[in-house]
Amino acid sequence: MKHARIRLPGEAEIHAVLVNDDHSVQLADGRRLAEDAVEWLPPAEGTVFALGLNYADHAAELAFKAPTEPLVFLKSPATLTGHRQLSVRPDNITYMHYECELVVIIGKTAKNVSREQAMDYVAGYSVCNDYAVRDYLENYYRPNLRVKNRDTLTPIGPWWVDRDNVANPAALTLRTWVNGELRQQGNTSDMVFDIPFLIEYLSSFMTLSPGDMIATGTPEGLADVVPGDEVIVEVEGVGRLVNHIVSEAQYAARQAQTV
């Protein structure tokens, strides 16, 4: 099953919904609404972990050796947005790229979990696009929040799927299309640190809770995106997340309309 959080246009209430095969959503009161009739929100609420350099090919692309210990950074809710939303490319930068990632959703409190037991703590999977603005990289707590935690620059969703609906999370194709053109392709089999390892690692020094999300890193194939671009990231068997890039001025104009 697919689970999502949505809002109806003009309403404040957040609905937890099930998603049908045609991507319409089923509200608790029985109403069925089309994919384009709702506002898609991030599918869970919790601490967001993200992995840097977790695909060997991507690490090589960035001229780094793959790390010997996971390179983990955190994101706050400020940066998250949902399916079919807008992402802002800052003015006066030279390079902002997408990153298609498989996201693990934690379903059970996890502390000191072994890799053998780790999958018992997974509720399901989602997809995120972990945009980065490389102009803002500095060599302190790299990748720093100004690069990775900007408003609108972490679309996540559209939903999460139950763990048992994904036969093998270590063999899923990831793909990114920009304006319909395939730009990035990889497979979760190439992760440096796999999902059981990441859960064992994180839970060895901190408690994971239901709703926590682990964005597991991206393969090679990065490229700049600009206002007007439609960016789609897809993880095989999990979901396809659509996003549109706008300029700061376009975003401000859109915000003014909706207020």
Partner: protein, 254 residues
């Protein structure tokens, strides 16, 4: 005006102080017993690293070397996630096999309004108030990669007990005192901060929207106040209150 959050009958409740250490519940009832305190906020906690002169002075030469190459141009930020949040009086478990652990006596700036792209002049208008924070960390030998393992352990960000209204304090003139087993062990004064509270709020709000209940830790000094299982650590700010926590060994909790 001061307020805090406690647990009563498994519910989070608001309290305000009465005379002689007594508390008033949010429904007007008095509370005779000492409660279990919660962190006074539930939003995102952003910390600012390398904002205290004691650290900058020590690292100035390192900043010119690999892997840094040059001094930071913008505030160096980190997140203390929800598993680190704890209240006044909570017992905090320290790892014993992960090297030294240090207290980080600090102030917490609590956001009260949605804040985006503010100027320094506008910044203090979005502050709801201030609280006391102990930003606990393992020793940091490098600032190159995010310090998740050092800073994000369970209970490594006790806060409270009180959130005081913004008017109660001048964030440009604050002294934070840290006590180890009752002895004054460290002070952290706002005059030693590279960027002030309004400058930090303005800088953060340029690229991420701050929400009511979010909290910013403007600065922690160079890590010198080592804490060990068995210790009691307290952080105090005049006009806000005293945050006290007892420390035990992690192994004893398993």
């Amino acid at each position: 005006m001061k307020q805090g959050r406690i647990v009563l009958d498994q519910q989070a409740r608001r309290v305000t102080p009465l005379a002689a250490g007594k508390l008033l519940l949010d429904n007007g009832n008095p509370l005779a017993d000492q409660p279990q305190w919660l962190a006074p906020v539930t939003g995102t906690v952003y910390g600012v690293a390398l904002n205290h002169r004691s650290l900058l002075d020590k690292l100035e030469a390192d900043f010119q070397q690999p892997p840094y190459q040059k001094a930071p141009a913008t505030p160096v930020l980190f997140i203390k996630p929800r598993n680190t949040h704890a209240g006044h009086g909570c017992t905090i478990a320290l790892p014993t096999q992960a090297g030294k652990v240090f207290a980080g006596g600090a102030m917490g700036v609590v956001i009260g309004k949605v804040a985006s792209k503010l100027t320094e002049q506008q910044a203090l208008e979005v502050v709801a108030g201030y609280t006391v924070v102990n930003e606990i960390s393992l020793e940091e030998s490098s600032f190159y990669r995010p310090a998740v393992k050092a800073k994000c352990r369970d209970g490594f960000c006790p806060m409270g007990p009180w959130l005081v209204d913004a008017a109660a304090l001048d964030p440009l003139n604050v002294e934070i005192r840290s006590y180890l087993n009752g002895e004054l062990a460290e002070t952290n004064h706002s005059r030693d901060w590279l960027r002030s509270v309004p400058q930090l709020i303005a800088a953060l709000s340029q690229f991420m929207t701050l929400q009511p209940g979010d909290l910013i830790i403007p600065a922690t000094p160079l890590r010198q106040l080592e804490i060990r299982p068995g210790d009691t650590v307290a952080v105090e700010i005049a006009g806000i209150g005293r945050l006290e926590n007892h420390l035990i060994a992690e192994e004893s909790t398993q």
